[in-house]
């Protein structure tokens, strides 16, 4: 992409809009203007050409009429003198009368061919002319040498009347003139004898005044060319007789002007453009022949005057165009500003929003156009975003709080559980191991064991309903109560009953706890136990796993009237009792299937050769394997007692062991 494009891309919408519209408008205007100018110029040119031709012809008529009046008398005199030789006096009267009465005539002459007037005189040429307003009469003689003068020689040889080229009549009229000569002759012995010519001169100064009075536009002018292309009349005095249209063309090296000149002297007429050097500005020439003299009249018209109307029209159209352009520019700026200002505003505000400042209100737009719609959409987006962010903040806070509560709860829970295994290394009668795999949220499982007097082991596994800190605290309370009450009561049922009652007090949270509690006389293997709504433990005896028979019993902390009963079995050597929470049996795998009681029994059967520690850990592991990637919903607690058999030998090691 070019630099300009990049610059263009970087410009505002208003600028692009203005540029494009104005460019298009300008192009359209220019095209229309050029066409209109061209066609009106064509039309006007035709009209101007016709006008100029008419003007030229009218001027030519004027000149022709004047020349015709000059030509009349010489023709008449030539006719007369051909008939009979006039006396010098008659000639004088004829010539002076003619010069006096025709204002156009500068001079008149009757020039006889050598020896033609009468034999004794070689040259005879009386000449009447005006000098300083007075009439002069003279004879042209040897000194003048008129037989070789063009005005005499050429008409004589051509035997027809002729206007001469312009010349300075030295020794004659002493003026720059053109001479009209009519030859006359007499038939002698059947031969035409050339007698001489009758002439009439016109002063070119006079002719210049005549032509100068023809007004052509403002500064246009007319000029006359002789047959040779020499200026017979021209506003520039210095051109007359001296310069020709061809010498001007040669000077300016202009073949164009030369061609115009050639057409002019060949009697052509036309309306063509002049080379610019002639007037120093564009100009046109209209020309046509002056028939009787064989001259050509040219009328030079400056182009600006010829096309004055067109130029005025052009100026007006350009003025209107410029005005319209400015107006259009203003309107475009106005419109584009009204579009871009809200957009710019919107862009500014949304940039703020993008930075996270959602409280900045978007500009209100009452308009129903696209910008208004966009503005409203942005406002809705902003509000939705703000609400969402607010919600997100709340949720995050709650989550953080909860997470911290759970952490506290777990700390409470775990801090209350025994951690030292094996717990009683000195006691040989049994092995005990417990494992608790906490769920992400505190499940409220608990276990405990401690030795009582007389070689007894109290152990329990419970599960507090509810979660979180209340559950953890409840669990701690329960455990503490059990510990305290175990000092006072002898049987598991009594303990449970009393714990339940204690828990009922101020149990506003309405929490409860399931619990299996047993007291094992490890010397005898007698196990007394009671149950408060807990899952039945598994007894593995002789490689076979089975449910431990259970008395009925309600959850602890629910009803004052709850009744717990004791049951007693006697453990045999190598019996294993597996106490667990519902986190084991109610574990679900990825497909939502329960771990199930049956699977528990099978797994425990399969572990018949294992010690307490291995069994607990293997069982927890089997649950983990079963669940796979399914989330763990509840704590998993397994407590295993491996009864190794009683014997006094082992009691001796017991610190508090008292055999009663």
């Amino acid at each position: 992409m070019s630099r300009q494009d990049r610059q263009f891309q970087g410009r505002g919408l208003g600028f692009k809009l203005s540029l494009l519209i104005l460019t298009c408008t300008t192009a359209i205007f220019l095209a229309a203007f050029a066409y209109s100018h061209y066609s009106s110029k064509q039309t006007l040119m035709k009209e101007a050409g016709a006008d100029a031709a008419n003007l030229t012809l009218a001027s030519i008529r004027k000149i022709e009429a004047t020349l015709a009046s000059v030509e009349e008398v010489p023709g008449f005199l030539a006719f007369t003198y051909g008939k009979g030789t006039p006396t010098p006096l008659a000639i004088k009267q004829d010539l002076t009368g003619f010069v006096l009465f025709n204002r156009a005539v500068f001079g008149a002459c009757v020039a006889y061919a050598p020896h033609a007037y009468y034999a004794g005189t070689r040259l005879f040429a009386p000449y009447a002319y005006k000098k300083d307003g007075r009439l002069e009469y003279t004879h042209l003689g040897e000194e003048y040498g008129y037989p070789n003068a063009d005005w005499f020689l050429i008409p004589s040889k051509l035997e027809r009347p002729l206007w001469s080229e312009p010349y300075f009549d030295e020794g004659g009229g002493g003026a720059v003139m053109c001479t009209y000569s009519v030859p006359f002759h007499r038939d002698e012995d059947g031969r035409r004898r050339m007698l001489g010519v009758v002439t009439a001169d016109i002063s070119l100064e006079w002719l210049r005044e005549l032509v100068g009075h023809i007004s052509i536009f403002r500064s246009g002018y007319a000029f006359l060319l002789s047959r040779n292309g020499v200026f017979v009349s021209h506003p520039k005095d210095a051109y007359i007789m001296r310069e020709s249209v061809f010498s001007l063309a040669e000077q300016a090296a202009s073949p164009e002007l030369r061609r115009i000149g050639q057409d002019m002297i060949q009697g052509g007429s036309g309306f063509v453009r002049l080379p610019e050097f002639v007037l120093g500005k564009p100009a046109w020439i209209s020309y046509a022949p002056v028939r009787n003299a064989g001259w050509s009249m040219g009328v030079v018209i400056p182009e600006d005057e010829l096309f004055e109307d067109l130029d005025r029209l052009k100026r007006q159209v350009v003025g209107i165009g410029l005005g319209g352009f400015v107006l259009l520019l203003l309107v475009i700026i106005l419109v584009s500003t009204s579009i871009t200002r809200p957009l710019k505003n919107l862009a500014g505000r949304t940039a703020e929003i993008a930075k996270g400042n959602l409280d900045i209100p978007l500009p209100e737009s009452r308009s129903g156009d696209e910008v208004g719609q966009l503005s409203r959409s942005f406002e809705e987006m902003r509000l939705a975003l703000r609400e969402y962010i607010a919600n997100l903040t709340e949720t995050t806070k709650a989550k953080e709080r909860m997470e911290s509560e759970l952490k506290i709860a777990r700390t409470i829970q775990m801090s209350f559980l025994p951690k030292r295994f094996p717990p009683f290394p000195d006691i040989r009668q049994f092995e005990l191991h417990a494992a608790l795999d906490p769920a992400l949220e505190v499940g409220g499982d608990l276990f405990d064991f401690f030795l009582l007097e007389d070689g007894r082991l109290l152990f329990l596994v419970g599960d507090v309903s509810g979660k979180g800190v209340p559950a953890a605290l409840f669990m701690a309370v329960t455990k503490t109560l059990v510990k305290g009450i175990a000092e006072l009561e002898d049987t598991p049922a009594a303990i449970l009953d009393r714990v339940s009652r204690e828990l009922l007090v101020d149990n506003e949270a309405m929490l409860f706890v399931t619990m299996f509690l047993g007291i094992l006389d490890y010397n005898t293997g007698q196990l007394t136990y009671s149950n408060a709504g807990h899952n039945p433990p598994v007894l593995l005896r002789g490689g076979r796993a089975d449910w431990l028979p259970m008395p009925r019993g309600l959850f602890l902390g629910v009803m004052e009237e709850a009744v717990y009963r004791n049951m007693t079995i006697t453990l045999e050597q190598d019996d294993r009792l597996v106490v667990y929470t519902d986190g084991v049996t109610e574990a679900v795998d990825e497909s939502g299937e329960l771990y199930s009681n049956q699977r528990l029994l099978d797994v425990v059967s399969g572990l018949s050769a294992q010690g307490a520690k291995q069994m607990s850990e293997a069982l927890v592991e089997s649950v983990g394997r079963f669940a796979g990637s399914a989330p763990q919903a509840d704590d998993i607690t397994v407590l295993t007692i491996h009864y190794l058999g009683g014997g006094p030998a082992s009691t001796s090691a017991q610190p508090k062991g008292e055999d009663e």
């Binding site: 003068a149 050429i154 040889k157 040779n228 002297i265």
Partner: protein, 326 residues
Amino acid sequence: MPSRIRTVIAALAVILAVLGESPAQAGPLKKASLIPQWEPQAQFAGYYVAKAKGFYEKRGVDMDILRGGPSSPPSKLLAEGKALFGTMFLATAVMERSKDLALVNLAQVMRGSTFLLVARKSSAINRPGDFNGKRVSLWGKEFSLQAEEFFKNAGVQVERLPQGFTVDLFLRGGVDVVSAMYYNEYHVLLNSGLDPEDLTLFPLRDYGLDYPEDGIYCLNSTFKADPELCSAVADASLEGWRYAFEHPEEALDIVMGHVEAARLPTNRMHQKWMLERLREAMLPTAGRQGPGPLLAGEFEAVARTLAKAGLLQKPVSFEEFHVPAR
């Protein structure tokens, strides 16, 4: 071009050296007058320039250049003592000498002929033989000498009409052929709207008639009385020519001054053409010297032709006719 101009200048310098510079006169200027053989025009630029630039005065000559024209032939003015010096065609001078006008040639300025016979293409005159029966306008006797020789050589009979000061008779269709000098009338024809391709030219030098034209003359008595004056006039005139070719615009200004004073129907462009053609004609070429003393060969050729044409009343010798080189 500049190198050619330099050649001309060098040649003129040599000539001047040959003729010898006249020392500037300490005393009063000697009165003298010169009559050109035609109306004021660039054909005489050298003389007008020599006067205007003071080349005559420098040599002690108070020169008056007379107004030339058809009614003032130099031979007549010299004979009548109205002019001391004049320019003439060589043939004219030889003829006058044979008529007992004791002219001597002081310098030959134009060594070749620029004379043309011009016909319109439309009159179908393409070869000398085509002139038979055609109307030809000719100048006075000595100026028609070459043409007459041409007609004689071609074996044609023509109808002769006098040619005045202009070519208008030809332009009006009064004649089929017009006499013209290449540097003058030919250009007048062109500047009357005729194009070169409309015209057939017969330059007579191409037909063995290359007669020398303008030279400076005086009466033998003048030369005998004051040879220093004569050589001063010749030297100053040739210096004038040299200056005119070096400064054509200035020379044209000077010429136009004389033209305008005479109120002649001509213009600067025409005079410019004339001066340029003259420079070409006066330029020394391989077979031709520049302006300088008359050569015996030139003289003999013209004298022989004139004698054969019966135009010499008595023989003229080169010895008496020319001024020997100093």
